[in-house]
Amino acid sequence: MSKLGFAISIAFTYFTIIYLTGLGGLFSERSGIVNIGLEGLMIIGTVTGSFGAYYFGAKLGWGVPAGPIMGLLLGLTCGAAFASIHALATVTFKIDHIVSGVVINLVAVGLARFLSTIFFGQATQSDPGQPHLHVISIPLLSSIPAFGRAFQGLSPFVLFPFLIVFPVWWVLNRTRWGLRLRSAGENPEATRSLGVAVAPLRWEGVLISGAFAGLAGAFLSVEIVNNWREGQTLGLGFIALAALILSNWNPIRLMGAAFLFGFAQAVPLALRDWPIIRSIPEQFVNMTPYVVTIVVLAGFIGRVRPPAAAGKAYEGTTT
C-alpha cells in the first residue's frame, strides 16, 4: 500500500503541472484562441523560473522562501510575455492559431538555450541544488497508516490548484469579465453586438494561458527538479492539452482529468514492480493519456465540445 501512496504523491506533482498548464489552455481556448504552444510556454517558464530562484535565492541571498517564490513569479511573468507573441500573431494579425502555436513550440527550445547561456553560462542545464520551498506533510492525511505516504514531503505549491479551482470557476461563470471571455470564444459576433470588444478579451485569455503555463514550468524546475535541464517538460504541455479536452474545457472537471493523467505518469515510476504493471511495457503506460483523449474525441465514450469559435479569427472591423 505504501507503494500506492508513493505513486499518489508523485501523481500530485504531475497533477499540479498538468492542471495549471491545462488551466492556461482553458483561458485561451475559452476566449477563442487555440493554444497548442503550451509546451513552449512551459519551457520558457522552466528556464526563467530556475534563473529567478537561483538569482534571488542564492546570488542575492534572499534565501527561502523569497527566492523560490521570485522564481515562480518570474516564470509566470515570462510565460505571459512569451505568450504575447501568440496573442499578437493570432488576435492582432489573425494568422492561423496552429501555425503560431507550432512556431511558439519550436522557438521556445532555442530561446530557452539562448537564455540559459546568458543566465547560467551553459546551454542545456543550470547547476543543481537551487533553493526550493521547504517540503510539507499535510496534517492528519499524512498520518493515515500505509497510505499516508501520499501526503508527505510535498512541495507546498501542490496546494495551489486546490486554492484556485473555485475562484477560477467563479470568475469564469459568475463575473462579467468571465462571461464575456467565454462569449468571445463561443460567438464573437454576439459579443461585439453587445458593444464589447473581442480582441482585448482574447489578448487577456492568451496572456493568462502564458502565465499559468509559465508558472507550471517554473514549479517543475524550481520545486521538483531544483534546476533547469533541457527537455525536462517531457511533453507535459501536450498532456495538459489532452487533459483540457477530456475535461470538456471545464476547470472543475480539469482537476479529475489532470489527476488521472498525473497518475498515469506516476505508475511506471512508482509501481514498476507490481505484477500487472510489470507485464505491461512502461511505454504503453506512458501512452495512456493520449489514447484516452483520442477515444474520447472520437466519441467512443461521451462527447466533448470545444468552444464554438475557438480557432476562428474574428474579422470585426473596429476591434
Binding site: S100, V102, G110, L111, R113, G235, F238, Q283, L297, E315
Partner: protein, 406 residues
C-alpha cells in the same frame, strides 16, 4: 456563391487589367521581402544587444552554407527531410486539413523501415532491399496517418488534436521498439553503447551522391535529395493537374460548396491523409539510411534520433506558401540558416541558438505578411466582383465576404 482565393479570375473583367496571377505573385514577393527585412532587422537588434556585429554574424551564416568546404552539401542534405516533411504538411493543407502528425508519422516510419532493413535482407536480393526499406517507411507513415484520417472521416474528431496525441504515442512506440523487437543484439562484448538497432546491411542504405559532385562524405548528401525534388514535382502535378488535386482544393476552399458540387468529402480527406503519410514516411530516411562509414553515423536507428522534423516541416511549408516548388526553395533556405548554427560559436560570440530564434522570427513575419497580402488581394477581388455585379445587376445570393476572408 462564395468567392474564394482559388476562384478563377473573373471573366471579362473590365475594372482592372492586371491579371490575377501577376497581382498575387507581386503581392507574395513583396510580402516575402518585407518579412525578410523584418526578421533580419529584429535579428540585428538581438545581435547588437548581445554586443556583436550583425554584418559579421550574417556573413558567417552566409559563408557557412555557400563558400565553406562542403557547405552546399551540408545544406542540401539537411534540406532533404524538410522537403518531404513540408510536402506532407502541404498536401493535407490543400484540402483544408492540418496534419500536425507528420512528426509521429515519420517516427513510426523509421521503425517500420528499420524493421524491414533488418529482416527483409533474405527476401529482397541486392539493391532491391533499399527500395523495400523505403516502401516500408512509406507504408508505416501511411498506416499511422490513416488513423487520424479515419477518425476525422468517420467520427469527425478534429485532426489537429488527434495527430498531436498520435505524436505522443509515436515517441513511446519508438522507445518500445528500441527496447524490444529492434533491440541492439550484436553489440561488441563488454562495450557500453547507446540504445539503438543493429546496423543495417549495406544494401539497405541509400548511396552517397556528394562524392559525384566533389563533396566529402561528412555531409551525407545522398540520392534522397533528388528523390525529394522528384516528390515535389509529383505533388505539384497532383495538385495542379489531377482530379484529386482539384477536388482537394475545392474541399479546402469550402466543404459545403465541394459537397454541393458532388465531391465525396470523406474520400478526398482520406486520400490526402494517406498521401501525406506516405511523404512523411520518407522524412526519417535521411538520418537512418544514409551512412558515413568513417564516422559511423547513419545506417541504424538510434535512441537519440533527430526529432521535431515534422514540426519544422510545418514552418517550411508555410515559408514556401504550401507550394511544392516554393517548399523546395524554402527548405534549402531554412537549411542554410541551420548550417549557420555550427559556425556561429566558432566564428562569433553569438550562441548557436540565435539561428533558431531568427528562424522563428522569420516564419512568424512571413506568415503575418502573407496573410495580410492575401487579405488585401481578396478585398480587391471582392470589390471588383461587387463592382461587376452592380454593372450587370446579376441575380443570386450576396457575396459572402466573411467566408472569403476566413
Amino acid at each position: 456563391m462564395a468567392i474564394t482565393a482559388t476562384a478563377p479570375p473573373a471573366a471579362g473583367s473590365g475594372v482592372k487589367t492586371r491579371p490575377e496571377w501577376l497581382e498575387r505573385a507581386v503581392g507574395q514577393g513583396l510580402a516575402l521581402l518585407l518579412a525578410l527585412v523584418i526578421a533580419l532587422g529584429l535579428g540585428a537588434i538581438i545581435i547588437l544587444l548581445y554586443g556583436e556585429s550583425p554584418l559579421a554574424v550574417y556573413g558567417s551564416i552566409l559563408r557557412a552554407s555557400t563558400t565553406d568546404k562542403d557547405g552546399p552539401a551540408w545544406v542540401l542534405s539537411a534540406a532533404t527531410p524538410l522537403i518531404f516533411s513540408a510536402l506532407a504538411v502541404s498536401v493535407c493543407f490543400k484540402g483544408g486539413l492540418f496534419n500536425i502528425g507528420v512528426e509521429g508519422q515519420y517516427l513510426v516510419a523509421m521503425v517500420t523501415a528499420a524493421w524491414a532493413a533488418l529482416h527483409l535482407g533474405d527476401i529482397l536480393p541486392g539493391p532491391l532491399l533499399m527500395w523495400g526499406v523505403l516502401l516500408f517507411g512509406i507504408l508505416g507513415g501511411m498506416a499511422y496517418a490513416a488513423i487520424p484520417g479515419a477518425l476525422k472521416v468517420k467520427t469527425g474528431a478534429h485532426e489537429v488534436v488527434t495527430t498531436i496525441m498520435m505524436n505522443g504515442i509515436a515517441v513511446s512506440l519508438v522507445a518500445w521498439a528500441l527496447n524490444n523487437p529492434l533491440r541492439y543484439t550484436n553489440a561488441p562484448a563488454g562495450q557500453n553503447v547507446d540504445l539503438r538497432t543493429n546496423i543495417f546491411p549495406a544494401h539497405a542504405k541509400v548511396p552517397d551522391l556528394g562524392h559525384l559532385l566533389g563533396y566529402g562524405p561528412a555531409p551525407r548528401l545522398s540520392w534522397l535529395f533528388p528523390l525529394a525534388v522528384l516528390a515535389a514535382a509529383i505533388v505539384w502535378f497532383m495538385v495542379k493537374r489531377m482530379r484529386l488535386g482539384y477536388e482537394a482544393r475545392a474541399v479546402g476552399a469550402s466543404v459545403g460548396s465541394a459537397q454541393a458540387g458532388g465531391i465525396g468529402i470523406g474520400s478526398v480527406q482520406m486520400k490526402l491523409f494517406l498521401i501525406s503519410g506516405a511523404l512523411a514516411g520518407l522524412v526519417g530516411m535521411q538520418q537512418i539510411l544514409v551512412n558515413n562509414a568513417s564516422t559511423s553515423t547513419g545506417g541504424y536507428l538510434p535512441q537519440n534520433y533527430e526529432a521535431t522534423l515534422g514540426f519544422t516541416g510545418i514552418a517550411v511549408a508555410f515559408l514556401g506558401q504550401n507550394n511544392p516548388i516554393g517548399i523546395v526553395f524554402a527548405a534549402i533556405f531554412w537549411a542554410s540558416l541551420s548550417r549557420g548554427e555550427s559556425i556561429l560559436p566558432i566564428e562569433t560570440d553569438m550562441p548557436r541558438e540565435f539561428v533558431i530564434i531568427l528562424q522563428g522570427v522569420l516564419i512568424m513575419s512571413v506568415v503575418i505578411t502573407y496573410t495580410l497580402a492575401k487579405r488585401r488581394l481578396e478585398r480587391r477581388q471582392t470589390g471588383r466582383v461587387l463592382a461587376e455585379e452592380e454593372i450587370v445587376a446579376a441575380e443570386g445570393g450576396p457575396v459572402e465576404v466573411g467566408e472569403a476572408l476566413s
